[in-house]
Subunit: 155 residues, 4 copies
């Protein structure tokens, strides 16, 4: 299941190292000795959780089916136009963020709104691609990894 989730992320153009860069970006101000390597370790730990794997697999599958126009209506239209009132992508993301407790919520919301690095790139890749779920999933994985780092840097 871990391999399935990581494969899907890679196929959609988001290797774990790109998520680690987002984690480093938001946490380097708090922990000056933080390395990209440690961030990657935290991202991999998040991806080990079955709850996270299930959310990633479900969300990316919906993105892919929307891209191939294989969803029945009305879901096809809702997902392919990334309707801003559709909140199922945030709901799946919340399940990921919760894995290390509620302190991840703040980072998730901030990342989802400011869309740094790979998260912003996904939003601008617009030739027929659908990333309605993927951007939230990545923001959530990065936020959970940031929580993990915050917990572990505390005696």
């Amino acid at each position: 299941m871990l391999e399935a989730a990581v494969s899907l992320l890679n196929e959609r153009g988001v290797p774990p190292i790109e998520i680690a860069r987002v984690v480093l970006e938001i946490q380097k101000g708090y922990f000056s000795d933080l390395t990209l390597e440690e961030c990657l370790g935290a991202v991999e730990a998040v991806l080990q959780k079955r709850e996270v794997q299930h959310a990633v697999i479900t969300g990316i599958t919906l993105d892919v089916l929307a891209e191939r126009k294989q969803l029945p209506e009305p879901l096809q239209s809702i997902v392919s136009r990334d309707d801003f009132l559709y909140g199922v992508d945030e709901i799946l993301a919340l399940a990921i963020t919760n894995v290390y407790g509620s302190i991840g919520l703040t980072n998730f919301g901030y990342l989802d709104k400011t869309k740094p690095l790979i998260i912003g790139e996904l939003n601008s890749r617009k030739n027929g691609q659908c990333h309605t779920f993927l951007d939230d999933l990545i923001a959530a994985i990065a936020a959970a990894a940031a929580s993990r780092i915050a917990h572990s840097h505390r005696p």
Copy 2:
């Protein structure tokens, strides 16, 4: 969107009145004058919420695609065998339950475990049908409707 959600519920064999029966079952002990009609009104109010419509449409679509074997692997296997470690169905349900606050949580969990009336029937209709999401969606709609009734029966 409301019609789309209600149509899907009807097509899957769950007209709103069946959900109202579940609400009556769990609330009649608390409010002796409660009628099936009032329960139906509460179910309809829950279904008016866009958050609920989106969860219903997304969940039932995944059930239908799993039944038609049109989901890519590994999601096809996960959803069609209703893997008990797969929690995305509970996550979608939680988004519905939350609509009237956290007091719905208890009823949701109770319904999901004891599976009265239509919820139990879904579980036993087993000739190729997939209701991995539907049973949780119904338990959640019934729990949210029960919360609405509890809130409104208080001065």
Copy 3:
């Protein structure tokens, strides 16, 4: 109960109009005709919800008791130093944000991190005051009000 919640907010230096300013700040880019008056109306609608009133009353009471050093240890120390690993303030906030669905999550996280207007002022009022819960409560009320506006500005 509504009056109790609004009184507590006023006593803590946060009249609803200050929360409305935060809502206007984050939503004016999306809805060019949005007025402070409409934002205030949305904030008042959020405060009408019993779930919100309960969260506000509980959180502010804990802030006040911490300020008066009337909490038993270890809670007194945790709340008064606003331990960044303490997530109960975010949990209460989430219950508020959920009232209009999951799209409020993003705005909540963004507000909690960037702390505009009154939210930032609370953080800088530092002579013995404790606002561990209050800043998250306000960010959450503003985020829920923003969701309400987003839902209502859509045909």
Copy 4:
């Protein structure tokens, strides 16, 4: 922090072994070789999580202050009468249940409604005691421990 949380549970009459008995009760039907010892191990693992410790400390402190009539109004009345529309106890519990993913939700709701063993005893100890938060906290710890066992009994 772990000791503080466990001490509070002991002082309130709920040693971890009593929570383990609840876990065994709800899981023995699924895993015939499950022992009380393994259930206790799972409860202890849940209690190791800082998120859980914070929820336990916050909730029990509110129960204790309500018992001593040291909460300001209106929170004193709300908590001491265990108002069934007050959902903050369920919200804290949800933060615990989420620690091992959403599959814990169902068990939490079931336990909160059926109140077996120690959970039911708390409800009947009525001479001035207040367990508004404690019953939900215990149901949530037991539900999270049950999820942990379910995850670990799967290849």
